[in-house]
Symmetry: C5
Subunit: 365 residues, 5 copies
């Protein structure tokens, strides 16, 4: 995964926005033109038939019948009136609709009378610290989904509907399962790529390379915390779904939801393990820095300790005491072996110093 810093910075905070205005009346829907324009399409299947349709007018909104499943898929949340009209047509609770528009909900399951409201969060391909809110309504014979942006991970589900897979033989509850399952499955490659990144950094640190490991590890850890938070929310939400005693969800769909919950738990496992690895690697990288400072210090001390005494000796024999004033004044300067003596003294001292450090093990790194 290529974490481009500018995007990362620009989007880091996007996942947390205040409600329209603090203290506004709950259930107020406000159009926001910075969002994508709203488009609608439906897939109606069951009894062997399949109709796909793009909805242009609100009066085209389908009325679901028994024996068929209608999936109304709305993309883009810019036009509050349209969404409000949909809410009225299908009797969706105002608070739920408000949650649809305020796209920073946690993943959750709420029950409003005979409609089940599920919020799930879909990963973006290009924004590591952001997620798209998908709001699902499960009603009798009907599933309504709201997405923030065009592009989703549901194509494989649509394909399975078109090919008349098992999904066509079952009710809307199974469709909800299939959609959530598709969202969850998209977490796998993300975590896998982070894991690969961690392995690379591990190799780099062990090889004592890679000075920028620490800020990369910090970034990865932040993404892992972000993913873990999302996964916990989905875990909670799926737990509610699995335990739900609700006539909207057929008993044999529970097995599939439980399977999906298993996947989330498995992902959480991986995220936790990777976070542990990440922390461990950060500590290792820190220790590596400390160890290097130590090594550098040792070189410095070695050099200083070896050369300082030698420099002193050279300095002493560079003093200008007058040999004529006294026989005590630097007689070495006139010895026959004076110069060799001084050089030998230096060499011997250097060897002793090096031997001392050798004995203390400073050369065995």
């Amino acid at each position: 995964m290529n974490i481009t810093p500018p995007i990362y910075k620009r989007l880091a905070r996007k996942y947390f926005h205040r409600r329209t205005a603090p203290g506004a009346a709950p259930g107020t829907l406000v159009s926001d033109k910075s969002k994508h324009p709203t488009t609608m399409r439906t897939m109606t299947y069951g009894s062997g038939q399949l109709v796909e349709q793009k909805i242009e007018q609100l009066d085209q909104l389908p009325k679901p019948h028994d024996g068929q499943v209608v999936w109304l898929d709305i993309t883009g949340l810019a036009d509050a009136p349209i969404i409000e009209a949909i809410g009225k047509t299908y009797s969706l609770h105002p608070l739920a609709l408000e949650d649809v528009l305020h796209v920073h909900q946690r993943a959750k399951v709420d029950e409003y009378g005979n409609v089940l409201f599920v919020v799930a969060r879909m990963l973006y391909d290009d924004r590591p610290l952001d997620s798209e809110q998908v709001s699902l309504f499960l009603a009798k014979n009907m599933v309504i989904t709201f997405q923030e942006d065009p592009g989703d991970c549901f194509d494989i589900v649509r394909e399975r509907i078109r090919q008349g897979g098992r999904i066509c033989a079952r009710g809307p509850d199974y469709l909800v399962y299939a959609l959530i399952d598709a969202i969850i499955d998209a977490y796998f490659p993300r975590l896998e790529s982070l894991g690969t990144d961690l392995d690379d950094i591990d190799a780099q640190i062990t090889a004592s390379r890679g000075r920028h490991s620490l800020s990369r590890l910090h970034e990865i850890r932040r993404i892992l915390i972000f993913l873990r938070k999302l996964l916990w929310q989905h875990r909670d939400a799926l737990n509610v779904l699995v335990r739900q005693e609700n006539e909207l969800i057929a008993p044999d769909t529970h097995v599939y939801l439980r399977d999906c919950l298993d996947h989330v738990v498995q992902l959480l496992d991986v995220a936790e393990t990777d976070r542990d690895s990440c922390i461990g690697l950060q500590e290792l990288a820190l220790a590596e820095i400390g160890q290097r400072t130590n090594d550098v210090m040792r070189v410095l001390t070695l050099i200083t300790t070896v050369f300082m005494p030698l420099t002193l000796i050279a300095g002493i024999y560079g003093m200008n005491f007058d040999p004529n004033s006294s026989p005590l004044n630097m007689p070495e300067l006139r010895w026959f072996f004076g110069y060799p003596f001084a050089l030998s003294l230096m060499s011997i001292l250097a060897v002793i110093m090096l031997g001392f450090f050798w004995a203390r093990g400073w050369f065995h790194r």
Copy 2:
């Protein structure tokens, strides 16, 4: 958010005060002239009517009737006798009144017979580590609120009452919800501004600038811990409210309370994530300091290691051994190429040293 240190220091401890006197009889109300003087006003609405009134005399205190909602809003807690009188008029429990005056209660919900007592904590605009206690009593047809200081985040609620919004069609329980919701909503911009601060610091640390990051991070972390504590309290209190089987709270108000609880949980999520970020950034800033020490050390060691041997050579050829006493005494001094030889020796040594450090990768930062 601009965290001015002096205010921060002055107020840091204000949120924690001892009860009037340790061991005093519970239920004793003591006037405290350091507090704001007590003022009262009411809003009476329902059945399409709205009366706003400033109460000057205790005998003006309203008697609520069926079909209307009376909101008695008391600001300033300086005059214990007035508050005691209000308590007697509306049969509020002495312990609850004591909690009203001792403004360091946790957010909580207590049930005293047919009156529900809620404590919520409102953020101050200018004091990051302090919060104002708002005490709410929910009785039949009536809501009583006590605030410490003038100025609150309830204006938007008052406006909605004046405009005859949905709030006017519902009972006092909905008013309590609306007030709590207004308090909670005010946490969003605070957390958002802290988050922006964290992002700035993140950018600074990554750019290796900003030496004072650590104490700023410490401050932000402290505020986050403070906010998290408040949010946990509200979460607990709202959980009690949502689960309350109480005739004072209509069943369909529960949906709204649950929505408010959702907001608190969402805020907690953000606070936790920001706290994790904060800790991560602190560690990164620390590592940055260690890394810099390392870099500085490397420069020092490099310089020392390169220059010490050269200085020694210069020192040696500065010795005054007498060439007349012996042909062994520093014959180099009289070589034809003596001086160039010495300079070349130095240059070669320097190049070897630098090559050694190059090989060890000290120049590739």
Copy 3:
């Protein structure tokens, strides 16, 4: 709070003592002359009357009647026979009596038939890491308290009894509440003073002063852990009391106990927050040390890097190569501008070095 180290050291371990002899029969009471001698006094109140009495003889021990409350207050645990006699007179369980004497119990509530046994722990004024055990027995019409040492925080309760406050109109359960409440209230000033200490240290660290902060923080953290442990115990004990379905405790006393529990939870909140602050400050102080090492290193490196090359140049022109042996031998020494050239070389080098460090930002701290 003035934490005098010697006392702190001397008393640190006092709060943890082994039972009389490991494996001794439970219920064995052993006199311990190192403890305070045992004295007894009673307060008997109710029906508008109040009798205070000092008990000298065991046969003076009061027999409680209906309609009055007897508070038998025993101070000093040196005389096991007296305590055993009291136990027999009022049918206290041997294991509870053993707990009275082994003064290192946790705060707790035990039910022995129709007697309720409560252990609470009272703070000492002068020993930050020690607490005094107060054992309370609640029986019909009677409260018995055992304290380790003279001096307590109950005077305010006694005063309220003497002044015929609400306490006189209620049963012994309310007295037990009032005593526990007095003990808990004494925790407030202690935590407040620790909080003030923390604020001071915070200010010192931010001002980069105060080298002994770390050991003071360690001490404060230790005291906070100690207080938190005590508060948790009281929280557990009060939770048991509040939930107790026991005829000894009147239903309307529960409201007061719950209020007391609220105080404990509030104190725990403060202790937790302060502990977080303490840890944060420790980390900040550590980072400050690292930052200073960094600053010191920078000065060292700067000086070394600037002066080493200059010293080398001076050393080179101090070499004694013989100018007469060769025109190549140090011709600079006989240049007309030789000396100024050397000094200029040094100055230019120094300026280049300083410019290099300026560019790397070593002067912008």
Copy 4:
């Protein structure tokens, strides 16, 4: 245990693979030729008889009768059609079969109608961070096991069946217990070897040797986290099994399952303790590095502090001030005891310096 880095790197991520294709229909079985080819064998025992058979054709698949236990053991998961056929023959649920093929399941217990599906994870001998999935189906009179690779820890179970041990007198539930028990038992030597490694490192750090301790500790900690995760999964799964009210599991088998659960808890205990040790050792190793830096610094400072003043003195008496120009110019150079005086000055200074450091305790390490 010999942790070969290349294998460790290569396999670190193998334990986490995405499902066949994100969003694929659940229950889809896809052949994967990178897996081991599928082989089957059966052991049929009970009523004193034992038949072992290698299954080559799907029509050889045994039909279990009352009074006997059939253990169908499938190794290698390459051939999806064969596995699908087995699933159809014995009515195994498609989701369970999918889990069999996607070999990255957590250890778990699922109930599908009258078949119990257990996933356990078997350690590899040569891959410290990988585990093999063993899927067990417990049906009436029958146990079916799927393994990823040839080679397992079940030989001892097979031997006990061949020798007609207690296992032959009991039902398939006991066989499931015996197999899980064999898997769990294989964790003991792994943890034991890690513990021994930790002890070795402890000894090395205490002896101030072993610079590579930190990366080894990081590796061990990672393996411990991996093992702990597996053990937690098995603990959860066994808890479900022990509490299962299922006619497939005889009541007296519960005692054995509880015993197996005890072993897992014991292993968890060891893993937790070892992880604590590991963290402690990492901190100790870090402190050791800091301590060494300290020691090296002290040597450096000592040498510098002793030699710098001496070098300065030598430098001073090496200055060339002209004695003929002024009697003030370096008269020492012509003193009778000039040279001895300079040497003595140096010696005295050195002794004073050393004494100063001695007094500050720099020699007492």
Copy 5:
């Protein structure tokens, strides 16, 4: 407590052994000659009588009658056949017997029909990281205990039986309580001695002495983790015992078991607090190391900064520029006050440097 490293190293791992052979049939008892040889003795008391007997032959095994309590105490687990025979005589479950022999069980309580099986762990006097397993069987009128080694903390219980204490008037359940209580009581002095050690180290660190504190703290922390683990196990086990609705345990024994549970909780409290202290001290010791490095650095920088410029000046005036070649060449050398000027320059520079450091507060430690 004197923690002798060799013993500590040798025994560190002893507390964790694999079962006889991985995958062996459960309930297999294998003789292990490395264990102590098995000896047996009984105490039979009740109805005022007491018989103590050493059992040499298996047919001497006592048959308990109503109205008496038989305590069969087996020491040493080397002879599996004897233990198997005892198991058969008293109908002990094979899995329980297996647990008796595999002496690395957690403290626990298991119920096998009408026999209660309790595992407790007794501290060794001389092995800080090891504990001896004591297995207790409570049957009707009978208690059977198995110990690994001779020597235990039960002498005080035996003495109380001999002296006809309260223990003789009660059933075998009270004997089990007394034995567990004796085991738990022996934890008190161990924790007390560790606490004293911690206080000593605290004093040493505060006094900036004691370089080996860190490895000692690591050792103490490891022991505390070990003790805490044991205490948690006992807490769990005693919780089961206290809550057990079992006819083997008389209701009034529950009070005593609860008292014993209280002791364990108290010990856990101390262990937790000590562990917190230990971690705090480790951090303090680490900070102390960092602080010292800082101090050493400051001395080094001071010396270097003061002497380097002086050495440079001496070097400059030691240059050999020829005064005869140019009047610009080092005229200072022939000044009348040349030498005093140079010395004064040096002194002034030194004073300025020292003043600079004084101003930056480097002398105020």
